[in-house]
């Protein structure tokens, strides 16, 4: 006799449903069963109409983010064995994003915010390709390396109540990415990104809840990135104080 676990999956079919609802499925249990395996079992064996996103199965592509018992998690990196004897497991679409269908979120807001902070090396003068790569010591790389591990899965946005309150907030992922480039010794674009950090929708919407860093599957620590951004924005304000008071602030 095989052991079974109950998985309560959120459903939302835009053609028929006015609001999301919940459907229970029984899935054969094994020690190495991930939430993603369970969802695939349901889709393949029980209900082919279930929609969910996934690709790599190894916490690199960042497409299988869902809420598992109200916590943002990667479905591939979350195992049912950790939820044994705690009742049925509930799987929902990520918080704070519009739900496209079932477990599929519309993350276009996140993608726009990522583009806003210009996450690429900005140089005052690009050197010709023939001159080779821009060099950097291991110590210089270490200063931003953690902030560069982001896989754009959106878990930090699902964890952020300030993004939930106001989707215009650039949010943890984009601001960590801005910091990743601002701290890169090869980059000269900090001044351009600063106007976004300085804005109300930039670092100043953050109240350091810190949950974004707790849920990040790649240990990026976006809360630390944003709050170091606050220090940078604070200094930038002080440096420009004279112009701000004169009403001639163009930084």
């Amino acid at each position: 006799m095989t052991d079974k676990v109950t998985v309560r999956v959120q459903r939302y079919r835009p053609e028929e449903d006015a609001a999301p609802w919940e459907q229970s499925f029984e899935v054969p249990y094994s020690e190495d069963l991930s939430i993603l395996d369970a969802l695939n079992q349901i889709k393949d064996q029980q209900d082919p109409t279930l929609s969910h996103r996934w690709s790599c199965r190894m916490a690199i592509c960042g497409s299988c983010g869902v809420m598992v018992n109200n916590e943002p998690r990667l479905a591939c990196k979350t195992f049912l064995r950790d939820y044994r004897d705690r009742g049925p497991v509930q799987v929902r679409a990520l918080d704070n994003f519009p739900i496209e269908r079932d477990l599929v979120s519309d993350i276009s807001g996140l993608v726009e915010h990522l583009e806003t902070v210009q996450p690429w090396l900005i140089r005052a003068r690009e050197s010709p390709v023939g001159e080779g790569a821009y060099l950097q010591t291991p110590e210089q790389m270490q200063r931003y390396a953690a902030f560069g591990q982001c896989i754009n899965c959106g878990l930090c946005y699902a964890a952020c109540p300030q993004f939930g309150r106001d989707p215009a907030f650039l949010g943890p992922g984009a601001l960590a990415l801005a910091q990743r480039y601002n701290l890169d010794s090869r980059d000269e674009g900090a001044a351009q990104r600063m106007q976004w950090l300085n804005a109300d929708v930039g670092v100043w919407s953050c109240t350091f809840v810190g949950y974004c860093s707790e849920v990040c599957p790649k240990d990026v620590d976006p809360a630390a990135a944003i709050n170091r951004g606050k220090v940078a924005s604070d200094l930038n304000y002080a440096v420009n104080l004279f112009n701000i008071l004169r009403g001639k602030d163009n930084a």
Binding site: R165, W196, A199, G202, S233, D234, A238
Partner: protein, 115 residues
Amino acid sequence: MRRSHEPIAWSLFGAGGMLLAFFGPGLVLTTALLPWLAAGDPQAAHAAIGALLAHPLGKVLVLACIALPLFHTLHRIYHGLHDLHLQAPRLPMQLLCYGGATLLSAISAWWLLLV
């Protein structure tokens, strides 16, 4: 993108938070025990506090202990009410919280000058 003026509020919030972390518990415990510590000779305790408040450095320290916690706590309350979905326009709430902290700090500074 328009620049936020939050840095002013955040700097004062941060200074108040640092002060409360480093001296808050000690200060609260001191004033909690004050009536008993001063019970032996209340007049002498009054004179000792008077000496503290008469010294310019004492005035600055006492003002810091009042004004910075005011800015710190009212900054948290301002954002906390927004978190709780309080339906109130931004500007009056800012005037109430940061204006209130400024006003109360100015009054305290005035009282310190009177001593």
